[in-house]
């Protein structure tokens, strides 16, 4: 399958990329890793007239801790995120997620910024970044602004970026003492989207959950925070009852569609299971287990 014709642009600086985006407007799409966009173009689900490739830009691929945040450059390849020592050592939820995105070949090209900006509820980073209370930086010729992840996903494949803005960085708050996280995903095979997946980041103090955020993958039209499940564990010690309550809440608050991966009832059930397992693992890690 051959994509529709387009004109390719390969700017060398972010300024040049922003100028191109400003001039070409709605006819242009940003090309990052291309692992979602190019398949969509081959199916002619997307037919942009212009592609602005960020692959030639320096300085947008990095993973580093700085001033209380893990900073991830938007063009960081998923494979490099997965291999980053700081991620493996201090950001368990992110390490879990990076390991199960698509397959190793796709991860060698796919980018973190692209995964988020695509705003596909079936992608894995949206749920993870919701659980982390991450924020993203958007740059435009007039300056930059920070968008909280809770405000970023506005619809199916829709995000809060304004015309002319480019997502340049993702920031995750550094973990506090007693914090732990985990991602649990059920997939039919490597490389498929999740049947359902749960991202949990929590903090345990004095044996009780003092903070918790939970994101869900591929069980809603817009990447979803499971606030009911969060409420079920906040202030609680992690017991069977509390886990069951969180699983039940997540099953109820998700909004899956039936497809080849399962019926609505099945997906609701599995979502509860994923939430339960992710909470258990996150709590174990908060207590110092790996």
């Amino acid at each position: 399958m051959i994509p529709g014709a387009f004109t390719y642009h390969s700017p060398r600086t972010l300024e040049e990329a922003m100028a191109l985006l400003g001039n070409l407007g709605d006819d242009a799409k940003i090309l990052a890793g291309g692992q979602s966009l190019i398949p969509a173009m081959r199916f002619r689900l997307a037919m942009p007239e212009h592609l602005i490739d960020l692959g030639g830009l320096d300085g947008l691929a990095y993973v580093r801790e700085d001033a209380g945040f893990l900073r991830i450059g938007a063009m960081t390849r998923e494979a490099d995120l997965e291999a980053a020592t700081v991620v493996q050592q201090r950001y368990s939820l992110l390490a879990d997620t990076a390991h199960v995105i698509a397959d190793p070949l796709v991860r060698n090209l796919a980018t973190v910024g692209g995964n988020l900006a695509h705003a596909d509820p079936a992608n894995d980073h949206p749920a993870t970044m919701l659980a982390y209370a991450a924020e993203v930086e958007a740059r435009s010729p007039t300056g930059s602004r920070t968008i909280k992840i809770d405000d970023f996903f506005t619809g199916l494949f829709e995000n809060a970026l304004e015309p002319g803005e480019i997502l340049t960085e993702i920031r995750i708050p550094a973990p506090q003492p007693g914090a732990g996280g985990a991602y649990r995903k059920l997939e039919r095979k490597v490389g498929d989207y999740a049947v359902s997946a749960a991202a949990v980041q929590l903090r345990v103090q004095g044996g009780r959950v003092s903070a918790a955020r939970i994101g869900l993958t591929n069980v809603s039209p817009v990447p979803l925070r499971a606030t009911g499940a969060e409420q079920a564990i906040l202030g609680q010690a992690i017991t069977d009852d509390c886990l069951a309550a969180a699983a039940r809440a997540a099953s109820e608050e998700c909004d899956p569609s039936p497809d080849l991966r399962g019926s609505v009832a099945y997906k609701r059930d599995i979502t509860g299971v994923m939430v339960r397992r992710a909470i258990e693992k996150a709590a174990a890690r908060a207590g110092g287990a790996s």
């Binding site: 994509p3 004109t7 390719y8 390969s10 190793p104 070949l105 796709v106 060698n108 090209l109």
Partner: protein
């Protein structure tokens, strides 16, 4: 129709062609450069039959435009044997019967090559994980895993020999 000249270092040879912007890298390799060892299996970024190394990293050449590879190094299965001698991976697939129909083999070998460069002594689990983006419908993977284990062992022995 937008076209441009690109130069790709293809198996060590500067290859310059005029391509349409929308030409996929796999079509550039097969049709413009005439190297048919890189296969097209699924057309949906699923199967890995089109795997090549881009600047040393294993990628699906059906999910990249040729213009994105301008100025970069691409290695295909045709570039794996050196001076007429099979690469340890090719030898491993031969010795351990790592293929039946052979359609997935070029992609498997290039994925395995990247894997062994990152991790010269992988466990069985790491091998299975490393080739999890490449589908094989014949072998059930066991013989492919053995072939890669053979190559890892052979490469290690060759390195030790070279060091002596």
């Amino acid at each position: 129709m937008s076209k441009r000249m690109i130069t790709v270092d293809l198996n060590g040879e500067a290859t310059t062609r005029e391509v349409e912007d929308r030409t996929l890298l796999v079509h550039f390799i097969r049709e413009d450069a005439g190297l048919k060892g890189t296969h097209i299996g699924c057309d949906t970024t699923s199967c890995g039959a089109c795997t090549v190394l881009l600047d040393g990293r294993a990628i699906k050449s059906c999910t990249m435009f040729a213009v994105q590879a301008d100025g970069k190094q691409v290695e295909t299965i045709e570039g794996v044997a050196k001076d007429g001698a099979l690469h340890p991976l090719q030898e491993g697939f031969w010795e351990k019967h790592g293929l039946q129909c052979g359609y997935c083999t070029p992609g498997m070998i290039l994925s395995a090559k990247h894997l062994l460069e990152k991790n010269p002594d992988p466990t069985e689990d790491e091998i299975r994980w490393g080739i999890s983006g490449n589908l094989c419908r014949c072998t059930g993977y066991n013989k492919i895993v053995e072939a890669i284990q053979y190559a890892a062992k052979k490469s290690k022995a060759q390195d030790e020999e070279a060091a002596e």
